[in-house]
Symmetry: C2
Subunit: 418 residues, 2 copies
Amino acid sequence: MSLIRSWVDTANDPTCPFPLNNLPCGVFSTAALSIRCGVAIGAFVLDVAGMEKAGLLAPGDGPLLNTPAWNPLMAAGPDVWDRLRRQLMGHLAEGSGTRDQVEPYLHPLDGVTLHMPFAVTEYTDFYAGRNHAFNVGTMFRGPENALPPNWLHIPIGYNGRASSVVVSGTDVRRPWGQLKGPQDDAPRWAPSARFDLELEMGAIVGQPSTGPVSVAEADAMIFGYVLLNDWSARDIQAWEYVPLGPFQAKATATTISPWIVTKAALEPFRTQTPAREKPLLPYLQEPGPMLYDIALDVELAPGGGDASVISRTNYKEMYYSAAQQLAHHTTSGCPMRVGDLLGSGTISGPVKDSRGSLLELSWGGQEPLSLPGGQTRSFLEDGDRLTLTGHCQGDGYTIGFGPCSGTILPALSDPFAR
Amino acid sequence: MSLIRSWVDTANDPTCPFPLNNLPCGVFSTAALSIRCGVAIGAFVLDVAGMEKAGLLAPGDGPLLNTPAWNPLMAAGPDVWDRLRRQLMGHLAEGSGTRDQVEPYLHPLDGVTLHMPFAVTEYTDFYAGRNHAFNVGTMFRGPENALPPNWLHIPIGYNGRASSVVVSGTDVRRPWGQLKGPQDDAPRWAPSARFDLELEMGAIVGQPSTGPVSVAEADAMIFGYVLLNDWSARDIQAWEYVPLGPFQAKATATTISPWIVTKAALEPFRTQTPAREKPLLPYLQEPGPMLYDIALDVELAPGGGDASVISRTNYKEMYYSAAQQLAHHTTSGCPMRVGDLLGSGTISGPVKDSRGSLLELSWGGQEPLSLPGGQTRSFLEDGDRLTLTGHCQGDGYTIGFGPCSGTILPALSDPFAR
């Protein structure tokens, strides 16, 4: 697959994250335009809601796009997803006869406000990165017991909190919580001192299910992907998580990137999951490549300081694909719904500077990370700005996700000291 | 508090679950009436949506009741909750001057279909029963390590799956899942052979929050309570739950009773949580009684057989109240929303026949339960009908919840053998 040229010049730059090949789905507003669906192209967002109203787009039988979320379009099904992509390709391709009609619907990206691209119905977070699970397990249980016995058989996941999912750019307030360190005699109420990021991808369920689905069916249910940062309070987590799993440690916020990159745009970058260390039960076996080759960076900018890359890895490091996770999610008959969000689990590569969390990068705080300018980090500090970026490298073009950013605000003064 | 008499004769029977003191909130339909909000009174459901349309009820500034869920009324806030209760009391009290206008809105309960009373936004399940935690802990880790170290300090909870919550009367299909028993060399794909109930109460969040709330504020956010059965596949749970908690084991279904009994109706039955074994951190301390004295029964009817009571206990056995659970839920800044459902955790009393799960009643299957007629049960069998009931005993009246029932259907033939 090579670049598909557009009359939107900025979309033809090989480093532009939003070429015609991409067409990611976001939600935007301007001073003049109410919140609505938009598609990124070059340096612009295309007001697809306005185009639908004007009769230039008709992906479904009725209006689907003049809403503050892509859920209605997703619910309309894969034929409608394909039809929208074909109609947009037709309008935006080099030489298109509708250019004069479409051009008024382009708004410079730097003049719009981006919002949550979809309504999160429920949020599930997985633990499907082999290196992350091994690193964390080694820290807590030693290398010989690092992986739980079920890890190579089940894409382990837990239900997260949909209400806490926010769009890139939303500040993140350091949480208070109940903590008990190894040195404490009793638990105490304090701000988290080990607040961390988790570099993940998020898969968005675009079609519902009512019973168990196969991995192939699960893949067909996925609408697209976003970058995802599952902010985690390690000290709260350590005290609360046995026996029922993480709860308040993961409920402060989860940040996603503002553009849903569709499965159609990612198609050329499909790749196999790594070789199995133990055979999977048949219901989890993949009929084809269902991971994606997506290069991922984590940047940290201390308050007032310059950003530097603290980790560099790739989504293809995951042991389980989103399709496998979704298939497993349905085994018990658990109904899945349009807008469900599945976090991949932390994506860590095999070497130190490819680890997807500060817990791993600083080895539990024992080996603080050195930043340019002389600062060090074991965990996140107030004022830190954390940004995930991701892209697929095509032949002369790039599929980008837009940044997934958040700045750490200091904890409130004790919310119960009234 | 004694019986408040109504001109609806059946509501004055001291054993009637729905006296004027109760006024629980449900959603119903009939052949002639579309799905809408209703309130139970005596042997009838009152079409409050119709009354609102006719101008006989006006709890809020605009229409709130002609919808298939109580979420809009809940969102309107406690003043509106109170106003609705006062308006209904006025119309239905003995000697009311509006009896002739109201009577046409009564529909016999046995002629209506009941639906989910509210839209479940997110569902959180707790583990807050002291006896249940001790029993389960003893089975898995021995009595000296039964309670996890955090148990007496935190109302431990995990996020459940809102999409799986169903109303009483919905059949429950035995799930398939990935299992590995102690005798198995490798995990296998099989129907759950240890499918169980969990007797719980559910608290319904009626007001949102954006930051940490106190226990008193949390209590004020709760709209009402339902009975809740958190169906659990123990064999799936045992293999999957370390380290991130229960997932597919709890995602087949959770059944709730069809009537939300409001906090106002439960007010006379408030009771203290049991004495603390260890002091709680200040943010979890209760300023007043926040549990309720609610007698609870579990009935089991084998396919085609008679029902018998297999457990009898009380909600006041819980170590943590719903208000404490909700306050803890907000500590990290986790936003709570209207329609969030909090399961109490399994309610087990101190003696054998007061245990709230078959896991405990049969002691992990080692001591099968004898049913009348000679059958025994370690876990649920296909065709079993399980019913939870609950009531508060007032002075000459009863506050009932309506049954919380489900019948176990056999597992599908292998859903992946195609």
